[in-house]
């Protein structure tokens, strides 16, 4: 028999629910990032990802696809022909569209980082001070400027050679990023790890990659539940300090949970006969279409 409820709990206090006001959404970086990762993993887990679509790249045997990507990657790294790199990038864009990735989404994933990161890094290289050469545009001329020990050139140009080498770097990084994106978006992660195992990646690394992917999904779900659990109990305003201390505490708690899970997973594997050997390989089933794909990739590389 339970004790009687506290007196205040026996009272039915009804508070008024005010009409909600229009508020601007605050950007919650942590939750938004986690939701984004969860969405990608959930799509993959339920077969709704682009890897499950019926398109050319998805039909290619994963071993052939990875080999083709690797040789194209090497060709892009080795070549000094801007035209070749531009053509490869155009081809990748076409393949992305055919694979159902969406041109806009592909451009955002590939071209935005290529321009921002590689572009910013090579930007100083286009001026004559860094890369001397044939002038394309004169920024200034006839100016004698000296700041302490630093003497600026009298003429500052944007040079053809500078622009060419900058373009080369940007196109090269875009093609590498594009190839990696295409492989990752058109092949399931579990298949990629198995192919990598075939190519000589140690079984222990493959096991870690496989298990990590699986348990990231699980822990992510758990973490989103943590956020929800806390939100459900916020019956008032919270101080920023309290939120930060909750994040700290939750991270510590997660370390404990992952350690416990890790132990249990290991015991579960042992109980099913795991002795340190991980059988994470898949059979090679190369058909005519895959051979054609490999030959096409090799022919493209000949133009590098």
């Amino acid at each position: 028999m339970n004790r009687p409820l506290p007196e205040w709990l026996q009272e039915n206090v009804t508070i008024n629910l005010p009409a909600p006001k229009q508020c601007v959404r605050r950007f919650d970086y942590l939750e938004k990032t986690l939701q984004g990762i969860y969405k990608i993993l959930a799509q993959d887990a339920h077969g709704n990802s682009t890897a499950g679509k019926r398109a050319l790249l998805q039909q290619i045997e994963p071993h052939a696809k990875l080999i083709a990507a690797l040789i194209l990657l090497l060709a892009a790294a080795w070549t000094k022909k801007i035209e070749f790199l531009a053509a490869v990038n155009l081809l990748l864009l076409g393949l992305a569209a055919q694979a159902g990735l969406g041109v806009k989404s592909f451009m955002t994933r590939v071209w935005l980082p290529a321009f921002f990161f590689s572009g910013l890094a090579v930007l100083p290289g286009i001026i004559s001070w860094v890369t001397p050469g044939e002038s394309l545009y004169t920024i200034y001329s006839g100016v004698h400027l000296q700041l302490g020990w630093l003497t600026f050139p009298v003429v500052l140009d944007i040079t053809k050679q500078g622009v060419q080498s900058a373009l080369l770097v940007i196109l090269r990084s875009a093609s590498s990023l594009g190839l990696a994106t295409l492989v990752l978006k058109t092949t399931r992660w579990s298949v990629i790890t198995k192919v990598l195992a075939k190519f000589g990646l140690p079984a222990a690394v493959v096991a870690v990659l496989d298990l990590t992917y699986r348990y990231i999904y699980l822990f992510l779900l758990l973490f989103l539940e943590y956020i929800m659990g806390r939100r459900s109990r916020l019956a008032g305003r919270e101080a920023q300090g309290e939120k930060l201390s909750w994040i700290g505490g939750t991270i510590a708690d997660f370390l404990r949970i992952t350690r416990e899970y890790g132990e249990d997973i290991h015991y579960a594997m042992q109980s099913r006969g795991f002795t340190g050997e991980y059988h994470g390989q898949m059979k090679l089933k190369i058909g005519l279409c895959d051979i054609g794909f490999l030959i096409a990739a090799a022919i493209i590389c000949c133009f590098a």
Binding site: R3, N12, P20, C23, S232, R233, L234, A235, E238
Partner: protein
């Protein structure tokens, strides 16, 4: 009876694109003891989260206390705080809702965030600890407790803000008989005090003990029945169709 919740054609789609709830139409009245019955994965927990304003309908309309419950409305902190004070949600996994360093702080968290002074919040927490018979755990870390103790702390933490609506997700699942008994008695006592209780379970035997209205969710994520517990339990074909019994 006062209408508390009104759901019109509500649906929820998971981020991965899978449907969790489809075409949900229900009215929930103040003081009801409502049980959501359905097999695993039918969307009971999602429906409860929808009612608790933790997730929002992908389509359709969810109204609580006459106000629409939307992501936009919940951006208003004053509205969200008042709503959380009126609706308490006890998760199936107690671990996700226990985040304070000690049991006492855990129970005081709600009253303190709603602006109660600390001595009053402490008094409330002490009374709840005594009610749950866990006063000796006040200074312990919630993560080192047993499953039954964690559940008691989670319930006490929710009761501390004295909500009008209490939502429980599989409250007795995996607990020892004594803890189960405590929870059943607590739910019935709270119901007698006029609280609205909404629980989700897939345990048929709990229906007659804990509810006076049962809603059955089918595997297609839609409601297939809404009736008195004894009437639902008598419909063997319906229970079989809902995957709640193995054979007719």
């Amino acid at each position: 009876m006062n209408l508390i919740y009104e759901l019109k054609n509500a649906a929820y789609i998971y981020p991965g694109g899978r449907p969790a709830l489809q075409d949900i139409n229900i009215d929930i009245f103040a003081g009801e003891r409502l049980m959501l019955l359905g097999p695993n994965g039918c969307g009971k927990s999602t429906l409860q989260k929808l009612l608790a304003g933790l997730v929002f309908a992908s389509s359709g309309r969810v109204t609580a206390f006459g106000r629409p419950i939307t992501a936009k409305a919940m951006l208003d902190k004053r509205f969200a705080a008042a709503f959380r004070q009126k609706v308490g949600f006890v998760f199936q996994n107690s671990d996700v809702q226990l985040f304070c360093p000690s049991v006492l702080e855990e129970i005081m968290f709600g009253p303190l965030t709603m602006g109660m002074d600390s001595s009053k919040a402490k008094r409330r927490a002490d009374e709840l600890l005594e009610y749950a018979g866990i006063t000796f755990l006040a200074d312990c870390s919630p993560h080192h407790l047993s499953g039954g103790e964690k559940k008691k702390v989670a319930i006490a933490a929710i009761l501390a803000v004295n909500p009008e609506v209490l939502i429980f997700d599989e409250p007795t699942n995996g607990l020892d008989p004594r803890s189960q008994c405590w929870i059943v008695e607590t739910l019935n006592e709270l119901s007698r005090q006029g609280k609205t209780i909404i629980l989700a379970t897939h345990q048929l035997e709990a229906a007659s003990r804990l509810a006076d209205r049962v809603l059955v969710l089918g595997e297609d994520h839609r409601f297939i029945a809404d009736d008195l517990p004894e009437k639902i339990l008598a419909k063997r074909e319906l229970l079989y169709k809902a995957n709640l019994i193995a054979e007719i």
